[in-house]
Symmetry: D3
Subunit: 188 residues, 6 copies
Amino acid sequence: MSDSPTALDLPMVDPLPEATRKYFDICQEKLGMVPNVLKAYAFDIDKLDAFTAMYNDLMLAESGLTKLEREMIAVVVSSINRCWYCQVAHGAAVRALSGRPELGEAMVMNWRMAELDARQTAMLGFAEKVTQESARITEDDRQALRDAGFSDRDIWDIANVAGFFNMTNRVASATAMRPNADYHAQAR
Amino acid sequence: MSDSPTALDLPMVDPLPEATRKYFDICQEKLGMVPNVLKAYAFDIDKLDAFTAMYNDLMLAESGLTKLEREMIAVVVSSINRCWYCQVAHGAAVRALSGRPELGEAMVMNWRMAELDARQTAMLGFAEKVTQESARITEDDRQALRDAGFSDRDIWDIANVAGFFNMTNRVASATAMRPNADYHAQAR
Amino acid sequence: MSDSPTALDLPMVDPLPEATRKYFDICQEKLGMVPNVLKAYAFDIDKLDAFTAMYNDLMLAESGLTKLEREMIAVVVSSINRCWYCQVAHGAAVRALSGRPELGEAMVMNWRMAELDARQTAMLGFAEKVTQESARITEDDRQALRDAGFSDRDIWDIANVAGFFNMTNRVASATAMRPNADYHAQAR
Amino acid sequence: MSDSPTALDLPMVDPLPEATRKYFDICQEKLGMVPNVLKAYAFDIDKLDAFTAMYNDLMLAESGLTKLEREMIAVVVSSINRCWYCQVAHGAAVRALSGRPELGEAMVMNWRMAELDARQTAMLGFAEKVTQESARITEDDRQALRDAGFSDRDIWDIANVAGFFNMTNRVASATAMRPNADYHAQAR
Amino acid sequence: MSDSPTALDLPMVDPLPEATRKYFDICQEKLGMVPNVLKAYAFDIDKLDAFTAMYNDLMLAESGLTKLEREMIAVVVSSINRCWYCQVAHGAAVRALSGRPELGEAMVMNWRMAELDARQTAMLGFAEKVTQESARITEDDRQALRDAGFSDRDIWDIANVAGFFNMTNRVASATAMRPNADYHAQAR
Amino acid sequence: MSDSPTALDLPMVDPLPEATRKYFDICQEKLGMVPNVLKAYAFDIDKLDAFTAMYNDLMLAESGLTKLEREMIAVVVSSINRCWYCQVAHGAAVRALSGRPELGEAMVMNWRMAELDARQTAMLGFAEKVTQESARITEDDRQALRDAGFSDRDIWDIANVAGFFNMTNRVASATAMRPNADYHAQAR
C-alpha cells in the first residue's frame, strides 16, 4: 500500500508554506498525527485553507451544540453514507469526548440503539432526515427541533454539520481516502 | 411570505462589515441581485466567509473542468437531491453559460436525455454515483474517468464539486431556502 | 439528430387519414405545433386514437379538478419518474395555465417547496403516493382527501391522472421521446 | 363487504347504454363474469370506453408479441407494483393461455425463477426496468431487445403494455379495486 | 431440468441414516411428498437436523400464535423477499389451514388488501417492518403489538418466525431451490 | 437500565437445566461471559437448543470457509442490517481471529474499503447480494464464486451463514437485544 492519503496521485505542495507547516506541526503535537484529510487537500493550499476554515468554524467555533453533539452528528451521517474515513476519525472523537466508548460504537452501528435523551434523539433524527431525504423536510421537522429546545441558530448548525459530512463523506469515498491507523485504538 | 431567505429567524448582521457590503454590491452589480444563500449565511460573517471561500475556489478558480461543466455537475446533483434553491440558481447558470436553455432543463429533469459527449457522460455518471452510492465507488470508477480523459486533479474536482452540492442542497432544503425570483426567467 | 419523435424507427402512416390530418392541423393552429407524442403514436392510427381519447377525457373533460390541478399532478408524477418529455410539455402547461412560471418550476423540482393551499397539498401528496407506493394506500389515504374537500369522483380523477402519467412517462422514457423544442421558452 | 368494485362510492350508470349492456353480456358469456374493472369505470361511459379501447388494442390486437407474452408482462409489472386486482386477474390469464399453472405463479412470485427462453428473459427484463427505473433506459437497453429478435414495433408494444399496467395497477390500488372471486380457482 | 432440489451439486447422503429415512417416510405419508428443502439439506445430516429442529419448534410447537398466523407471517415475509420456494410452499399452507384460497393469494400478492382483523394487521405490519427495516424498530413498535393483545412471548415468536423466513428465503433464492410441483394445485 | 438481555419480559428458566448450566459455565470460562443472546433464548430451553445447534454447526463445524471468513460474512451482513448486537459481538470476533483490529472495523463500516483478496471480495459481494436482493441472484452469481475457487458446498455455506445473520439481526433488533459490554474493548 502506498503512502498516499487517497487513490489519486496528488502530492502535497513541496515545500509546504510556512503557515501550513505550522498548522501541521500543531496537529502532530495535539493529535499525535496530521490527519490524512489535511494531507489529501495539501496539493493545493487554497483548497486546504477553505476546507480547514469551514471545518474549524463548524466543529470548533461557538455553538449551541456541544462539540460532542457535533461529533455525534458527524458519525451518524458518516454511518448512513458508509464513509470509512469519517466513521474511523469521528468515531474516535465521540469515544474520546464522551468518555463512553460504546457511544462511539453506537453512532457507527445504529444510533437508535444508543442511550440518548430526547434532545439528542431529535437532533440525530433530523440529521438522518437531512442525509436521507432532505427534500421532504418541512416546517414540522424544524418545529420538532424547536420543541426539543433548539433555537433557530442551533437548527442552522445541525443542518450545516450534517450537510458538511454529506460533502466530506463523498469526497473521502470517491477518492478512497485512508484514515490514519492511530485512530482505531484511541479511547477504547 | 416574509422577506427572510430561509424559514429560520436569523437576521443578517446589521450593519454588515465593510468587506461584506462591498461583496454584496459587486453581486448586485454583476448578477443584478444578492443571491439569497449569501443573505442566509450573513447572520454570522465567519460562516459567510468560509462558505464563499469554498464556493469561489470550487466553482470559479482554475480547474481542468470548465465553469459550465462544474455548473452541470451542480444541477445534476441538486436534481437528485431535489433541492429547490440550487436547481433554480444553477439551472439558470447552465442555461446562461451554455447558451442552450434546453441543456439547463435536461440537467434538472433527466441528464441522461441530454445530448452529451462521452467525457460529459462519464463526468455526470460519476457525479451521480458520488451522490447516490459513494460507498460503492471503487478504483474501476476512477479509472473510467481517466479513460475518458480526466486527470487525477480533475477527478478530485468532480468529487469536490459533487460533494459541495450534496452539502448545500441539504442546508438549503433543511432551512427552506428560497431562490431569488429573478433566476426563473434568465437565459430562457 | 434525426427528425424522429423517438429512438424507434416507426414512421407515421403516410398519408395520414383525413381525421388525423385535421386533428394535427388543429394542434398546429392552437398550440403552434403538433406535439411529438402524437407523431410518435401515428404509426398506427388505432393506437393514436385510443391514446388521444383517454388523454382528452382525463385532461380536458369535465372534472372536479381544474385543468391546472390536473397539469400539476402530471408534472409532479413526471418529476418523480424523471420523464424528460412530460416534464417539458406539462411544465409549460402549468406555467401557462397558472400565469406563475415559478409554479411550473416547483412542480418539476420539488413540489413541497411550492406555495400551495391545503387542498393542493393533499392532492399532490396522494398523487405522489400513487406513484411511489400505491400498494400501501389504504382507506386512511382516501379519507384524507375527502377531509380536504374532494369527492369520491375527484379521488377517481386524481388516481387516474396520476396513473395515466405513470404510463406515459414510461412509454416516453423507454422510447427516448423528444419534446418539441418550442415548449422550453413558453410562458417564462 | 359491500358489492362495490372499489372503495369509492361511484355507482354504475343506470340503466347502462345499450352498447355497454351488450359488451357486458359478451363478457358474462365468454368469461363467466363481468370483470370488476369494467364495473368500476362504468360510472362514466366515456371513461369506460376510453379504457376498453386502449386495453383491447394493447392486449388483443395484432402484435409481434403473443397474447401470452403480453399477459406475462402484465403480471410481472403488477407483481412489482403489488397490485392485488391485476395479479389475480392476469395471473389467471397466464395460467390459462400457457396451460402451465406454475408459470402464472412464477410471474407473480419471482419471474427470474421461471423457465424462460432468451427472448422472454429479455422482454421481462425490459418490462421490469420500464417499471422500476424508466429514466435510466438508454439505447443499450433497446438494442438488447433488437439483439433478442424484437423489432422496433415490438419494443413499442412491450413499453406500452408495461406502461399500461403501471397505470392500471395504480388506479386499482388507489381505489382498492376488488378482483372477481372466480379468478382464484381458474386454470389451476 | 435436473432432479436436484437446488442449483448446487450437493447429493443427499446415501444411504440416508435410519432416522432421516423414517422422517422422510412420514413426510411422504402425511404431505404426499418430501419437501425439497429437506432434500436440499440432506447432503449433511447435522445441518438437516439443525434446520428441522428450528423449523418444527417455530412453526409447530406451542405458541400464542396459531399455526395459520405463523404461516401468514411466513408468506408475507417471503413475498417481500420474493422467494419462489417459500411463497409456493407456505402459500399452499395458508390456503389449506384457512380454508380460504384467496387469503393465501393475498399474503403473496399484497397483504394490505386481505380482510384482516386488527390483531392480524398489527402482526403482519410488525413482520413487514422486521423484514424491511428492523434497525428502525423501537419500543413504540413493540408496544403497538401489546396494545393489539400480544404478550411479550408472542412478540418473540413473531420476530423469530419473521426472522427465520428472512433466513430461509435467502438460502432458497441463493441456491435456486425448486418447490415441489404438487404445491401449486393444493387447496385451490 | 434493567438487566434483561432484551426489551421483552422473558426471564430465563429458573433453575436452568443441568446441561444448559454447564454450557453457560463453559461460555463463562472460555469467553469470560455468557453472551446475552443465549440468555435471551433461555426462557425456553428447546428454542435455546435449536438456536445453539444451528449456530455451532454454521460457525464452528468443518467448512471450506475459515472461521474468520464466516465471521467476516456475519459482520458484513449485520452492518447492512445495522444490527447493534451482532456488529458488536462479531466485530470483536473478526478483530480477535484476524489479529487486525482495523479489519473488524472495516467489516462494520464499509467492507469495500478493506484490503481483501479476490476470494474474499467475491465471498462478501455474494453475501451482500444475498442480504440486499436475493431474488435477483442467478446462476451467474454462483458461477462467479466457483470461478473464485469456491466449491458448491462452500457456496451453500456462504448462503447459509449470510442467511443465518439475516435472521438473528432481525430477532436482535426487533427485541432490542443488548450486547455484553465486554465486547467493546476486546482485541483493539
